[in-house]
Amino acid sequence: MNLISSLYFSAPEIFLTISGLVLLLVAAFGGDKTARTVTILAVAALFGALVYTADLLTNPAYELGGEAWAGIYRMDGFGSFAKILIYLAAIGCLIVTPKFFTENGGYRPEYPILVLFSAVGMALMVSAVNLMTLYMGLELMSLSSYVLASFSRSDNRSVEAGLKYFVLGALASGILLYGMSLLYGFTGSTSYLGIRLALQDGLSMGATFGIVFVLAGLAFKIAAVPFHMWTPDVYEGAPTPVTAFFSTAPKVAAVAVLMRISLDTFGEQTLAWQQIVIFAALASIVVGALGAIGQTNIKRLLAYSSINNVGFILIGLAAATPAGASGMLVYLTIYVAMSLGGFVAVMMLKDAQGRQIEQISSMAGMVRENPLLAWCIFFLMLSLAGIPPLFGFYGKFVVFQAAVQADMIALAAIGIAASVIGAFYYLKVCKVIMFDDPAGEVVGDTTKSNWAVLLICSVIISPLGWILTKPLVELADRAASSLFFVI
């Protein structure tokens, strides 16, 4: 537990923090015209952290992981896996952002810096093994996110989204903090290991409340029912690149924290939280599916779709097995590709004046004028619906398999039956773009960066993605196993 190894294990976060601070100086002295440069540098920094983390994940020497900074931070396969996803999502979002804001006015260098700090916060969250570190990371992420949501200062919807996100997010942080204080009070420790040891001999009433409050706070962050109300509004109001970011990186981070807290910290009291997770999973699937049916705005629809998908991810958690945790990580990986691709595709829907198109009805028959974009959306939608042979099916495959292996057949059966409701609204979008008479409103987008991200995501969710299953599952298994250690 010496300084060198601590530095070595947490080097990505330290490096990103320093990069963020330096870039902040660049932005402060260089002004708005440095925005592009700062974005490129931020992407480079994230990429550096990504490569480093990938080494930590794959290097056999670090397979067991290690503690850093006197036991408040832990480097392990699980954290590294989640961080890689977070960095990838952040890079993807940053690549598509500048063009969007240059067209809609007001791109400023603060944007990539905020994303960078948000990514540091998320990395801290997933590596935290102490409630205080967790909260620090969470707030760093959340505060950056609030600002990002209202980044289009002149757009009322964006400002409203930021305010809503802030108020409700603060409430959730409060709930989480309250739960943490209860846990501390009843177990006498803020470290995960300490809490786990204390919970080993039984669960007091106060600690139960602590668990429930912590889970409620985290459920808010992942937008699981019944703490999902903010999602459609924020997703609709925030600028589309920000929405793409919200639906990917913070979701990965929050799900990862939920996994670590549930399976590691509360790992001895599985029964105490399993029912909550089962309820949240099924409710998210059903509410996400039913809520999406009436939507006319594609961003709101994708927001409900993300609620729906969180429900499927939670099914893996309900199983509370290594296979379930590994399944969740696989699902998250695929989900990041689907969600990022989906929002980038939405970003590319523009009318003749270059304005964003968000109404689903305006996308009618777009396959005639923009065949490639339309086919990408078509496959992304069916992949989100989990129809084989698209890769989105594999995510459902692994989590439901884990649930059945854990003998939760009723949960799996109800969950998968409810997924058919979800298929309906995805089909609705498919129908509008493929079958309807052309509305002629959508004009293509030729931005290379957008196409690059969209095509990469589309290739991943296409049947070609199945080639990835072996390495992906191997890494996810290794990552998941680090959550299931015996004390």
């Binding site: 439901f400 039956a417 129908k431 072996k470």
Partner: protein
């Protein structure tokens, strides 16, 4: 075959051509699609020619550990071979049927059909449970597009109904598959076919599989997606739907439900029989009053499929062989009937029966083909369906006289609606001038219909070619199910043979030797 991965090749050829079609102009896409399907037909013939009848149960086996959680494993037995042959045989005909009828978005259309072919061959060749599921479900996407983009007026509704109905049926099967794989520790289909699941679990597993296959089959009362899908789909879409996709349900029963859950199959045989009886009578009566030709044929498909399900659950060789033969025969005949409808639809753009009449006057060659296929659909001896229906009914008779009686009534009703259809379309007065002015078959249509006619007659006259590859597999299946086979009600007792033959003349009492003595 010297290790040449012929099954993979059969998947790869249409896949590559399908992707290419996406980017091609209309005419180039048509030619590419036709070439690819013909190449696949040739590969199919090579496959059949090299299939070793009486050899190993699973042939042309290929395995590659490509994916996590399941394997890329292909292999066929005689049953799968026959169904693959049916698919590759119908495919070029479908492409020809769409040659002129489809004029918009041709590249995408051909791509959808070729991908469909990949998935159908994949379903029949898959030897891994999950690989099977992926192929089985993936077929929804191209079919959804075929109905939704190139279908009739009410195509949107039909495409939704088709998609959601079949999806809802299938998802529970996936959960059952997870359970089975967890229990048996392998997703290898041949192993699972020998695995004895606990009888209590079989009930649930059987029901989950039944939900999926009954919808695909389709069985009454979950058949309602079929008439909609058939009527709205373009001609070639209907052909492939009736010809091959409906066989997925029957294939599912014969590959999964029967060998994997024999006890549960016996337990639920009454349910299948009851649904089959209702289906055969009800849908035949419904078919009798249809004004839309495609709808009529769609309902007749449901009736024929009911004979398949009844034959399958008869638990004996005749029933199983009959069910397979009905599936093959129906695949050809109903496909051909849809093509016949397509031929006149292309000319007059209506499927209304009353708009036609007296076509045998101006389209004699067409009327001849239509007659042949109508008779085959009725089950006239000498045509494919006779063999299948006769065997299936003989099999069912061993189990239940009542069921056989009802099913046979259905066949009589089948004759009624088919002959009634034929009379209204081909005979009688030429009611409408535009219908009377229609020209007879073009060479392209000859090329479509003649091979099917030949196959129908071949199957009817010499069914041994088709029964021989399946014989060993069906015998193995019967042996597997024997322990659960229900007792029949006909109880044919083998009596002691008479001392003399039945037509022997009684010995005369007095000697007639002195006949001339009078």
């Amino acid at each position: 075959m010297g290790g040449f991965p012929i099954l993979s090749a059969m998947l790869l050829v249409p896949l590559v051509a399908g992707i290419a079609c996406f980017f091609l102009e209309a005419q180039a896409a048509r030619l590419t699609a036709l070439t690819a399907t013909l190449v696949n037909l040739a590969l199919g013939i090579v496959l059949w020619a090299n299939y070793d009848i009486g050899g190993a149960q699973w042939q042309f086996v290929e395995q590659a550990a490509l994916f996590a959680g399941f394997n890329y494993a292909l292999g066929i037995d005689g049953i799968a071979l026959m169904l693959i042959m049916l698919s590759v045989f119908l495919m070029p005909i479908c492409i020809l049927a769409s040659w002129e009828a489809i004029s918009k978005r041709v590249g995408e259309y051909m791509a959808a059909f070729l991908i469909m072919e990949v998935l159908m061959i994949g379903v029949f060749a898959a030897q891994d449970l999950f690989l099977f599921y992926i192929f089985f479900e993936a077929g929804l996407i191209p079919m959804y597009l075929i109905i939704g983009v190139w279908g009739g007026d009410n195509r949107i509704y039909a495409s939704y109904k088709f998609f959601l109905y079949t999806l809802l049926g299938s998802v529970l099967m996936l959960i059952a598959m997870f359970w089975m794989v967890n229990e048996a520790g392998t997703s290898d289909i041949p192993t699972l076919m020998q695995y004895d699941f606990p009888a209590g679990a079989q009930t649930w597993l059987w029901l989950a599989f039944f939900a999926s296959f009954a919808v695909k089959m389709p069985m009454w009362p979950v058949h309602t997606w079929l008439p909609d899908a058939h009527v709205q789909a373009p001609t070639a879409g209907s052909v492939i739907l009736a010809g091959v996709l409906l066989k997925l349900g029957g294939y599912g029963f014969i590959r999964f439900s029967l060998p994997m859950f024999p006890e549960a199959s016996a337990q639920f045989a009454w349910l299948v029989f009851a649904l089959s009886m209702i289906a055969v009578i009800y849908t035949s009566l419904v078919a009798l009053v249809q004004h839309d030709m495609k709808k009529l044929i769609a309902y007749s498909s449901v009736a024929h499929m009911a004979i398949v399900t009844a034959g399958l659950f008869a638990f004996n060789v005749q029933g199983l062989e009959g069910a397979m033969m009905v599936m093959l025969g129906h695949g050809l005949v109903s496909g051909a009937l849809f093509l016949c409808v397509g031929v006149i639809y292309d000319r007059l753009h209506t499927r209304e029966i009353d708009r036609y009449g007296g076509l045998s006057i101006n389209m004699p060659k067409y009327a001849l083909f239509f007659m042949l296929f109508s008779m085959a659909s009725v089950g006239l001896p000498g045509t494919s369906n006779f063999i299948g229906e006769f065997l299936a009914l003989a099999g069912v008779y061993k189990v239940s006289t009542l069921v056989t009686l009802v099913l046979t009534t259905g066949i009589i009703l089948g004759a009624a609606y088919m002959l009634y259809l034929y009379r209204r379309v081909a005979f009688g007065d030429q009611k409408n001038a535009d219908a009377a002015a229609m020209t007879d078959l073009t060479p392209r249509e000859w090329v479509m219909l003649a091979p099917i006619a030949a196959a129908v007659l071949w199957m009817g006259v010499y069914p041994e070619s088709f029964l021989a590859p399946m014989r060993a597999d069906i015998a193995a299946l019967e042996a597997r199910m024997a322990r659960a086979a229900p007792a029949g009600d006909s109880m044919l007792e083998i009596g002691t043979p008479r001392e003399s033959s039945a037509n022997a003349m009684p010995a005369l009492e007095h000697d007639n030797a002195g006949e001339g003595a009078h």
